[in-house]
Symmetry: C2
Subunit: 503 residues, 2 copies
């Protein structure tokens, strides 16, 4: 164990303070999207930017770099495994914070925020031209950032960006997975569509479905999954997200009174994220090693909950019964068979966030390829609309009639996020492999789900994923430790075949 | 105007950052009392304590003391009036933060928080004995703090404590005002009670009055007063308060479904506080001079809104009509005459926060005298119950049957607040003098109130009080500038006589 006056114990105190500041940021970010009056926006922006500056300043203090070096020298003689992992994560956080000069970081944050505002208007007006200039400037800056980090870390520019969101993930891992899926999924989609075309037509559910009642239902479902409302909340917002700090996890969601299905599934998805946050190791609260492993692992937990368990043939009847109790009118539309067809409908669509689990990865793969090309200068912002439409046409056989339904639909690039998109589908592949392993290791999971009992499944994810925090250096290691094999597309492909062609 | 590289301009940047951190604290404090899940308490405590530590650290930096000294040298040649006032307020904040050693400050914060927890239990169980030990330890520490500040500031120990809440207020001002009131109010109370005894008996309003409908009504009233919901919110909490940061002001309140009157008036009171925050000078947002002048001035704004304007013979009929529209049943209980008797009932009671405006100052005056004696070591904590009961008996002619209804009722001392109590009644006296001056200067105020139009009154307070921030060195100066005379009890006494014996 670390000695009380070691460099490591000093670092632990410093990083705890940083953890507290970041917890303040998380709550204020959540509050800005839930309860803050609109007029509070300008102040909130300043407050959050000052807090970001405080974290950055404390990371840039020369003292911290010295402490890290000293702690790494002390390490082999004095640190336990968790402490050594914590030190590794401190170094990682420090590297990302200090790799680029403070001026570049603050220009990036400024430009991201202004470009995002331009994007919002451009999307609303289907006006790519107005967006191209600001985005080009932002991309130029991101190329700088990537080049600087690439040099500092000794990895390729795109890998340097990826590493910020999902440590250790590289194009060398992503490319073969995405190549495999982009060959496998389009013909699979065709086969599923052909099969679904033979089924009875879907009877639409007719609303309205009041938001308060959807919320009531969703709170019941979240509690059923294991979400602890004594240490958390659920509220509505424009763009659902979950965020957690130790002992206090918030789910946000939204409900369309005309559409029953999307809000409920979005809530189950966010509940999966929230369960990860709630299950992180309490002993390492506020320390770098106490954080979730990465964005792909996070997405694996939301998709494991939503797509693997939530839409399983075991759980869906339980969910349907709850939905019927709340909203049903006794008609055929509310039968298990019709609801099953609604919840498992597969087909091409323009908007990623509305896509089914078969086509979703195709949306992601094309974005991944485009943003990589953009970062490397192989294409320019002006080329995006044409490149986008060609890619989506190739993947899904449809061409967006407007850029709003095409390359203007996502916030990510306008917010300076390059390297984030692939984590969605690496998360989906991970979720399938984890769920398959969990069911092999704990045969009681299926029977539990059939009674709305998630406890065996959550026990497994808590033990194998959540409570591990960032103890392992990468999600790849977590997956291998939990499932006994390296990450591959095998389980994901089997899952889709079983669900859509066999069940 | 200050030069761009002057010591003052550097200070301005430093204090802006402190202002942002304090704004984060304010929002997180508010959130802890409104939406935070109970289980989030431990984390929130740590986060808030780290933010307090950041402010304190930045104040203790030797660099800041040097900058203050340099800026004060530069001052006469280069600063405008508002800038000079800002510099004065920076010095004041710095003096309070640095007067006591960091260790003493952190022990005080720790002990206050533990003593407050003991108090909560003691009050619930009417168990003064369990509270006496912890409170004695806290009082001993507060005597240390007061002695240290007394020496640093060259003022008496109690004045050093007062100065933190209401700059420049001293016992030399408070004593004659409170002596005057403690002689004037008891016989006045008797005369009013005799008069009210001759009136028809009050017909009680029978509920329930659902909290949501009370909230709806209160939002309408707050908007009528001028509260801007685009830059603010209203929510419920256990102990109502208002808090504001630039552009974002929050009112909290609570509603008893069995009691219509207390919740509505509490909301009007908090709206008065909120209007002050909302009207502070935007150009000086986050700077010390941009803050409200002090606790007494703050209370004057809530009481001006609640007691002076809100219960005026002009406005009450407007309020009664709104209440009747929402809750009335057409019976005599809802007549203006009966409602007037309810809203203007005067008489002795045990609990300060439920007291009417005639007896409220007597509650405050006895606390002021007790806490001064306690701080100076003239009495000890063990003497409190007897001293309390004697004082309240002397003031109001009643003796509390339990300490819960006596010396255990207030949170203040357990929270380390000595020097705060007198600001309530200095606020009441100030409110009366300001309202009288406003009506003299703006004869349209009364006619406005009679139509639910607060705009002339709010225009006056905004110009004379709110927009002044902390430009003047003390509330005494603000009052004199606004009313043309020094603070005295005259207007308050006239107000009570007019309202309760003449109207």
């Amino acid at each position: 164990m670390s000695k009380p006056n070691s460099a490591y114990s000093e670092l632990r105190q410093d990083f705890e303070k940083v953890g507290h500041i970041e917890a303040a940021q998380a709550t204020l970010f959540w509050e800005a999207r839930t309860y803050m009056p609109e007029g509070g926006n300008a102040t909130r922006g300043k407050v959050l930017s000052t807090l970001t500056g405080l974290v950055s300043e404390s990371m840039h203090e020369p003292r911290l770099g010295d402490l890290l070096a000293r702690a790494e020298e002390e390490e082999c003689t004095s640190l336990e495994a968790w402490e050594a992992a914590n030190l590794r994560e401190m170094r990682r956080k420090w590297r990302h914070e200090t790799a680029i000069p403070a001026k570049l970081a603050s220009r990036l944050s400024e430009l991201s925020s202004t470009t995002q505002a331009v994007w919002e208007k451009a999307r609303a007006n289907n006006d790519f031209a107005s967006f191209a200039g600001p985005l080009s400037a932002l991309v130029a800056l991101l190329r700088d950032v990537a080049a600087t980090k690439s040099q500092a870390f000794g990895v390729s520019p795109y890998n340097a960006m990826l590493d910020e969101y999902e440590p250790g993930l590289t194009t060398e891992t992503v490319d073969p997975i995405f190549d495999d899926l982009s060959a496998f999924l389009p013909p699979l989609m065709q086969r599923i569509m052909a099969r679904q075309a033979e089924e009875p037509a879907i009877i639409p559910l007719t609303g309205p479905f009041p938001a308060e009642r959807q919320m009531e239902l969703c709170k019941r479902i979240a509690a059923m999954i294991g979400f602890d409302f004594h240490h958390g909340r659920m509220d509505t917002t424009a763009h659902p997200f979950a965020c957690g700090i130790p002992g206090d996890v918030r789910i946000t969601t939204r409900f369309d009174p005309e559409d029953l299905t999307s809000g409920i599934m979005a809530t189950i998805h966010e509940t999966g994220h929230a369960m990860y946050e709630a299950g992180l190791p309490a002993d390492w609260a506020f320390q770098p090693v106490g954080h979730a492993r990465g964005a792909a692992m996070h997405e694996s937990q939301s998709l494991l909950t939503e797509m693997q368990a939530g839409r399983s043939v075991q759980f869906l009847p339980v969910l349907f019964a709850m939905i019927r109790d709340m909203f049903g009118d006794g008609s055929e539309a509310w039968s298990n068979a019709n609801l099953m067809r609604i919840y498992r409908k597969v087909g091409p669509s323009f908007i990623r966030v509305d896509a089914d689990e078969v086509t979703y990865p195709l949306h992601v793969i094309m974005r991944y390829r485009l943003e990589k090309a953009l970062l490397l200068g192989e294409i320019e912002v002006a080329d995006l609309p044409a490149a986008w439409n060609e890619a989506i046409g190739h993947m899904l056989g449809i061409v967006p009639p407007t850029d709003t339904l095409g390359c203007l639909q996502d916030v990510h690039w306008s917010a300076g996020l390059i390297g984030y998109f692939p984590t969605y589908s690496i998360g989906a592949v991970t979720a399938a492999q984890l769920f398959a392993a969990a069911r092999r290791q704990e045969p009681a999971i299926d029977a539990g789900l059939a009674h709305g009992d998630f406890s065996t499944l959550v026990g497994w994810t808590r033990a194998n994923i959540h409570s591990q925090g960032s103890r392992f250096a990468s999600s790849a290691e977590v997956v291998e430790a939990a499932t006994g094999r390296p990450l591959s597309t095998e389980a994901f492909k089997q899952h889709l075949i079983a669900r859509y062609l066999e069940e």
